[in-house]
């Protein structure tokens, strides 16, 4: 007996309603009331999600030991012709339910947290309206039944991210950052769209379930069709991955994410750490059957990009001083981890360990990274600065923030028994089984992660005691509640036996701690922490000496390997100078010239003949009637002959 899951349709719908109500009438309501509406609605969504998860995982999601893919609702939205229609619906399977839980949980926490953080800000109700819109779009994305629905909500997520990054639209940097984020992700989404078109052109469907059918003839045909040295399917999937890479800030499409920190900190926590940026991971996971079974080459691309990005971002994170930027690069690095895990995974059973690992890490990462950002928000709230150099010795002033931040830092560093340890461990073991290069990259990144996180931790909470303009104070209850809740979550979610619930072929299986890997990763993490402690715990630590020792490397990292500058160079210097300028010259002189010549001729001629058009209605009428009568006479004459 299957449970009826059709109520899940209400999760996005109530959020949409809340967006409409708060968005349209927000300025009529009192700000706190509109915030309350949004918060109550998202809490309602969270409760529904938990109930769904409970029903699905623990009561009766399984049939014969296999998790079922349930289409809880399906409505036809737009029909193109009789075999192709775009539908809107709710698809429930382990990963979508997991994402539902993640999104609604983090979103609820951010809603609650923002009560304190955004208090008294201009546009309080606008903020909540956008939050509702974002939650609606994100949920629409994760429960999509088909690629096109996913694409629609994908863009909606992009829009709401744009709106939220540019929330302080009076700040030029925020406007620039929102534009940058939008343009870069749009650029990536172009790849996504082309991938979708390619895929649907061959398979004549958007539906995930039909796409995933193992004996899909169209897929096999696509896989066999070769184009530019790789199969069309691989091409399509790489293009789709490009969309995912854009949204997930994979190298080289990552440049928008650090700038996106211009948005309010709760937004960074919600969108740019916990939920939206993992949409790319989710997308690959959603289509994992296609990747793993038909296009292993595309999966290699995913793995390579993921591994490189994680290392690259971790190195940059070492030297950044803006705490939100450190966290942003850390996010990139961790998402690279997830991509790596997906890339090294194969389909089915224990082969699919990487898949489980990736989803597990997504889950735990959402908790502790959300917590880190919210903690950073609390710190910024207290100190009114983003710069690490302005902080120090804050542990006395912000005890709750301190403890929760420590938990999160330990979790992300992979220290047992916090959640990050478990997920990182299975990622590393999956990588280990696939290829040693990936394993050692991941291992190194783990060490770097521990180092930069504790660099952050020690510089903020230890280090020298500074004089503050006014005494930093602990955040209000609404903020610390979210911190505590997420702190507990970060500490305990690692104990969930994830492989029992999420696996590449929906079949539960057992995982065990891989002892060698675990020891290695814990050792490297502890080394990272100790080094960070030595360098940053005491004022005037060893940090400066290290910087002096390798100045080139330091500068390179500080300037994020000059990627932004390279982009600017390519666009401004090369494209503008050598391509745009000649085209502009051609346009101005040849194209415009001929047009102007035509206009000139027309002008001259019309000046000569404009007397014909007298503007006198009656003259026109006379001519018209005369013409009519003439025509009538002509026709009559012919008719009478």
């Amino acid at each position: 007996m299957q449970t009826n899951f059709s109520y899940t349709i209400w999760i996005p719908l109530v959020l949409l309603a809340s967006f409409l109500v708060v968005g349209l009438f927000g300025d009529k309501l009192r700000p706190r009331l509109s915030g309350l509406i949004s918060t109550v609605v998202i809490l309602f969504g969270a409760v529904l999600s938990y109930w769904t998860a409970f029903q699905y995982f623990l009561v009766n999601g399984k049939a014969d030991g296999v998790y079922q893919t349930i289409v809880a609702a399906d409505y036809e939205w737009l029909r193109f012709y009789d075999t192709l229609a775009i539908k809107m619906g709710v698809l429930l399977d382990p990963i979508s339910i997991m994402m539902l839980v993640v999104v609604t949980t983090i979103s609820s926490m951010v809603h609650i947290y923002s009560f304190g953080y955004m208090k008294g800000e201009k546009g309080f109700e606008r903020f909540y309206a956008f939050l509702s819109l974002f939650s609606f779009s994100m949920i629409g994305l994760v429960i999509a039944t088909n690629l096109f629905q996913m694409y629609i909500f994908w863009e909606l997520v992009g829009v709401s991210s744009f709106l939220l990054i540019g929330f302080y639209y009076e700040k030029p940097s925020a406007v620039a950052a929102s534009k940058k984020a939008f343009i870069v992700t749009r650029f990536a989404d172009f790849g996504f769209l082309v991938g979708i078109l390619l895929l649907s052109y061959f398979t004549k469907t958007f539906d995930f379930q039909e796409l995933m059918q193992p004996d899909n003839a169209a897929i096999a045909e696509m896989a066999g069709l070769s184009f530019m040295g790789m199969s069309v399917l691989t091409l399509a999937l790489v293009l789709i991955f490009m969309g995912g890479a854009g949204k997930s800030a994979m190298f080289p499409l990552h440049i928008w994410l650090p700038d996106a920190m211009e948005g309010p900190t709760p937004v960074s926590a919600l969108i740019h750490a916990a939920t939206m940026v993992v949409a790319g991971v989710y997308l690959v996971a959603r289509l994992f059957g296609l990747y793993a079974l038909h296009a292993p080459d595309a999966l290699s691309v995913v793995a390579a990009v993921g591994a490189f990005t994680s290392l690259f971002a971790a190195v940059i994170a070492l030297t950044q001083t803006d705490i939100k930027r450190v966290l942003a690069f850390s996010t990139m690095s961790q998402i690279g981890y997830m991509m790596l895990a997906l890339g090294v995974s194969r389909y089915g059973g224990t082969e699919g360990l990487g898949y489980t690992a990736s989803m597990f890490h997504l889950f735990t990462h959402a908790m502790f990274k959300g917590l880190l950002f919210l903690g950073a928000g609390a710190i910024i709230h207290a100190v009114h600065s983003n710069e690490m150099t302005d902080m120090g010795g804050l542990r006395k002033y912000l005890p709750i923030t301190h403890v929760t931040f420590l938990i999160a830092a330990l979790a992300i560093s992979g220290i047992p028994p916090f959640s990050g340890f478990f997920s990182k461990d299975i990622i590393l073991s999956a990588a280990y089984e696939h290829h040693p290069v990936y394993f050692w990259t991941g291992w190194a990144v783990a060490g770097l992660t521990a180092f930069y996180m504790f660099r952050l931790y020690f510089s903020i909470f230890w280090g020298e005691n500074r004089e503050y303009e006014h005494k930093p104070h602990e955040a209000p209850f609404s903020m610390s509640f979210a911190l505590i809740f997420l702190g507990i979550m970060s500490a305990v979610v690692g104990f969930i036996p994830f492989s029992k619930y999420v696996s590449s072929d929906l079949m539960p299986y057992e995982t065990h701690l891989h002892m060698n890997v675990a020891v290695l990763s814990v050792v490297v993490a502890v080394i990272g922490i100790v080094v960070a402690a030595v360098m940053y715990m005491k004022p005037g630590g060893a940090a400066d000496k290290v910087v002096k020792a390798v100045p080139g490397l330091y500068k390179l990292s500080l300037h994020k390997f000059y990627i932004d500058e390279i982009y600017l160079f390519v666009t401004h210097k090369i494209i503008f100078n050598y391509i745009s300028r000649p085209i502009a010259w051609f346009d101005r002189n040849v194209v415009d010239g001929s047009m102007n010549g035509m206009a000139w001729v027309t002008n001259k001629v019309s000046n000569k003949i404009k007397g014909l058009q007298s503007g006198q209605l009656q003259q026109y009428a006379f001519v018209m009637i005369a013409g009519m009568v003439g025509l009538a006479l002509f026709v009559l004459y012919w008719a009478s002959r």
Binding site: F622, I625, A626, V629, A632, L633, L636, S640
Partner: protein, 168 residues
């Protein structure tokens, strides 16, 4: 009897039409137009199209002509004579009109009009009303709706055009 009335009405129509367009006193022209329209309504009554005739009376005579008279009252002075028309222009136009008239009458008299020989249908208000609002064949709900939108648009437009703005 009816024939006699028809001839009287036809004569009225033709005579006053000509007077409408030739009169140099604008309010008189409007009154001649009124007579033309009344005679037309008379023809409709004669054809037993009572409802149409009453519509003609209400809308044309009671509405359009009143509007025109209002406009005249607001724009003309009583001793104001319209300037005489340009002789050449008038002659040319008259020639054109006569040629056109001749052409059409020639065509009309050369053609044998034959009806479908059916019995007269129902023209009472109920039949007209249900036909106006029916969807089926010979239902006029679409033009009816279009006309209502048009009238609304005309009303809004007329108000907006004739409105006096503060800076005027």
């Amino acid at each position: 009897m009816e024939r006699l009335i028809f001839y009287i009405l036809a004569l009225t129509i033709i005579l006053f039409s000509v007077m409408t367009v030739t009169s140099r006193n604008i309010l008189r022209a409007a009154i001649y137009l009124l007579f033309v329209l009344l005679a037309t309504a008379g023809i409709y009554f004669l054809l037993n199209y009572n409802f149409l005739a009453a519509v003609q009376l209400t809308v044309y005579s009671g509405g359009v002509v009143v509007l025109i008279v209002f406009a005249v009252l607001l724009t003309a002075k009583i001793d104001h004579k319209l300037e005489p028309v340009n002789k050449v222009k008038s002659a040319l136009t008259a020639l054109l009109a006569i040629i056109g008239l001749g052409a059409i009458l020639w065509a009309v008299f050369g053609y044998n009009f034959t009806g479908n020989g059916m019995a007269e249908g129902a023209y009472d208000v109920k039949a007209i009303g249900s036909s106006l609002l029916s969807y089926g064949q010979y239902g006029y709900v679409l033009p009816f709706e279009v006309i209502s939108i048009l009238l609304l648009a005309a009303m809004v437009g007329a108000i907006m055009i004739a409105k006096r703005y503060k800076n005027d």
